[in-house]
């Protein structure tokens, strides 16, 4: 038995999809996580929130999928936000990769939803 490193929970708030990634993301599972999230984002979706509150590890492979998802959504006129609380273990990795500025981040899912509707 090998426990999956991470799992994803999906919720919808109107036309916004919220994908919560729990666990650890590295090059062994980043690809399938990116695909799973991509499949849930339909053409009708207005935007995507990736909630990393319970994500305990995320390396450059994980950051790569955030940028890939952003590229894909932008091409369709959709928006994306990443949720990461200050002081989270992965906050530093995201900051180093310029995610808060280049993609847009929020402290909570609620704050992300508000910023998407502004």
């Amino acid at each position: 038995m090998m426990l999956p490193l991470a799992d994803i929970g999906f919720e919808s708030d109107g036309d916004v999809v919220v994908a919560s990634v729990r666990g650890e993301v590295d090059m062994s599972n980043a690809g399938e996580i990116g695909e799973a999230i991509g499949r849930r984002v339909s053409n009708e979706t207005h935007s995507l929130v990736i909630d990393l509150t319970s994500c305990e590890y995320l390396d450059s492979a994980g950051i790569h999928i955030l940028y890939e998802l952003q590229d894909r959504l932008r091409n369709r006129g959709q928006d994306i936000r990443v949720v990461v609380p200050t002081g989270a273990m992965i906050a530093e990795a995201l900051r180093l990769a310029d995610v808060p500025r280049a993609i847009g981040s929020a402290e909570t899912v609620e704050a992300a939803l508000v910023s998407l509707r502004e």
């Binding site: 038995m1 590295d26 590890y57 450059s60």
Partner: protein, 558 residues
């Protein structure tokens, strides 16, 4: 030809339970030679050696000897089926088809059916003029029949009969001989049937029990686990253990004991093990896990009682949180090999109180220390106090060894050679010792990355690194290893090396592979080196004679 069948008169002096003698055939004067022959037959039917035969051999031998003693051509044994309504052919001589075809005769009908219903020997002088249900008897040309009931503890369990191909008269002496065979066969059949039923239940219960226990234990880096389950000599019980790999570098360790024995206890155990595992996988802490398990048990119809303990172990820090519901105290074996009992506050077993609270105890297992959890079958011995059992356990567990060796030693010392009278479950978890320096050669497979992080976090923890330092160094190491794994596509790059050294407050990580640093491709690639540079004090990427070495250094704050 006399109207058959005939039966014993009520006033026959020999009459008794299972010992009914035909009367109307009369007492034939017995010549001395014939009397001697009969004695031989009596001896051969009561031969003590017969007891040594298995059931099949015994029945066949009895039929052969009955045939011989009564100068008959056929002999058969039919036994009453489970619902007591039909006789089923069980063994036969000269009438083998009866068994092969599974002949069934209703109780009360035909020749054998009447013997079973009336519980007396019956003699049929001529089959052609009698009420016979079994067609095989006629087909085989049987003319005369003598049958007797097999009675065990006042219950008819079957019928034995002999037949001849020429008409003949069976007398009292013949009936007595056949009854002797019946008395011999009856208890043997009954005993075998009882034994089969018990054996079958035992075997299926053991199989059930085994299927409900973990097939194998998780293989987690830095963790050394072992377990044992031993059914009792004569009955399975409701003992279980479990080792649950949890997210975030945690491992759950469970042990439990459902009160009672047999299939019911084993089945309830299966429900509780699954329940505990499910709550644990949801991330519930030990106290809450037991509380929910208690509620689950109380919701099960015809529920029972159980004791259980659940421990949550952090691979990174060695912290251990444990809750117990009336379970015997765990044993902690120190890094010096000394075993002691872990004091836990008394708590009621599961299924006994409506609103239980399961207090959590916190402790830590330093590297090299072991926790051993077990069920009471291990320490309880008739005529001995529980304290004495616990002392023997601590003495046996006082050893500096792996979890596997500890389990083996405890089993060898505490479980009697012939097996325990109660079932025994045991699970041991050892926080594997951490080497001062870490040197690993790893396969170039992305799946090793999570194990590397696990081991590095443990190692850094023993060096006194702070949480943010552990996070930063783990990220740097992960990036360097991921790069080495990408090199696996280069010739000879199927593995790589990781070395971690702590000296004068500085952690040095070295990752060596047989390829060259991959030129970043694409817009978002190449972030790895940037991440490493930002999380360590110093990074050095250099080409060696046969590959690339990434050296990373960071001074720890403490």
């Amino acid at each position: 030809m006399s109207p058959s069948p005939t039966r014993a008169p009520e006033d026959t002096p020999e009459r008794g339970r299972g010992q009914i003698v035909l009367g109307s055939v009369g007492t034939t004067p017995t010549p001395t030679g014939a009397r001697a022959a009969q004695l031989v037959h009596i001896y051969r039917l009561s031969d003590p050696m017969l007891s040594e035969l298995g059931l099949e051999a015994l029945l066949n031998e009895l039929l052969d000897r009955s045939k011989e003693a009564l100068d008959a051509d056929t002999a058969a044994i039919l036994i009453l089926d489970e619902n007591g309504k039909e006789l089923v052919a069980r063994a036969a001589r000269g009438l083998e088809e009866e068994v092969e075809q599974g002949v069934r005769i209703p109780v009360g009908g035909g020749f054998a059916g009447r013997i079973a219903a009336e519980r007396v020997p019956i003699f049929i002088a001529d089959v052609n003029h009698a009420d016979i249900l079994n067609p095989i008897l006629r087909e085989k040309g049987v003319r005369s029949l003598l049958g007797a009931p097999m009675i065990v503890e006042g219950r008819v369990i079957g019928v034995i009969h002999v037949g001849t191909l020429v008409p003949r008269v069976f007398d009292n002496n013949d009936a007595a001989l056949l009854q002797l065979a019946a008395m011999r066969a009856g208890p043997a059949i009954e005993r075998a049937r009882l034994f089969d039923a018990l054996d079958h239940e035992h075997r299926s219960a053991v199989a059930l029990q085994r299927s409900l226990l973990p097939e194998r234990l998780p293989d987690v880096a830095g963790l050394d686990v072992a377990a044992r389950y031993l059914p009792s000599i004569d009955e399975v019980g409701g003992d279980w253990y479990d080792v649950i790999e949890l997210p975030g570098g945690f491992v759950g360790l469970a042990i439990g004991d459902v009160a009672g024995h047999g299939v019911r206890a084993a089945a309830l155990m299966g429900q509780l093990r699954t329940g505990l595992r499910a709550y644990a996988l949801e991330g519930q802490p030990p106290g809450e896990t037991l509380k929910r398990l208690d509620r689950l048990l109380q919701s099960i119809r015809g529920r029972g009682m159980a004791t259980a303990a659940y421990a949550l172990f952090s691979l990174e820090t060695g912290e251990l949180r444990i809750a117990s519901a009336g379970h015997p105290p765990p044993v902690i074996i120190g890094a010096d090999g000394e075993a002691r009992l872990m004091e836990l506050a008394a708590a009621p077993p599961l299924g006994t109180l409506p609103f239980p609270a399961h207090h959590e105890h916190e402790t830590a297992l330093a590297p090299g220390e072991t926790i051993l959890m077990y069920t009471d079958g291990l320490i309880e011995r008739r005529g001995e106090s529980l304290t004495a059992g616990l002392e023997r356990l601590c003495a046996a567990a006082s050893v500096l060894a792996s979890a596997e060796e500890i389990c083996q030693r405890v089993m060898d010392d505490l479980v009697p050679a012939l097996g325990a009278s109660d079932d025994v479950a045991m699970v041991a978890l050892r926080n594997a010792p951490v080497e001062p320096d870490m040197r690993l050669r790893l396969p170039a497979d992305p799946r090793v990355l999570s194990q590397i992080r696990q081991m590095l976090r443990r190692w850094l923890h023993t060096k006194g690194a702070r949480a943010e330092e552990i996070a930063a160094l783990t990220l740097a190491c992960g990036e360097a290893c991921a790069n080495a794994i990408e090199h696996a596509y280069a010739p000879g790059g199927a593995s790589f090396e990781l070395e971690a050294v702590h000296s004068s407050g500085v952690v040095t990580l070295a990752v060596r592979d047989n390829g060259s640093w991959r030129t970043p491709r694409g817009q978002h690639r190449g972030r790895g080196l940037q991440m490493i540079e930002a999380t360590v004090d110093e990074v050095d990427v250099r080409a060696t004679s046969d590959g690339t070495e990434i050296l990373m250094r960071r001074r720890l704050a403490s």
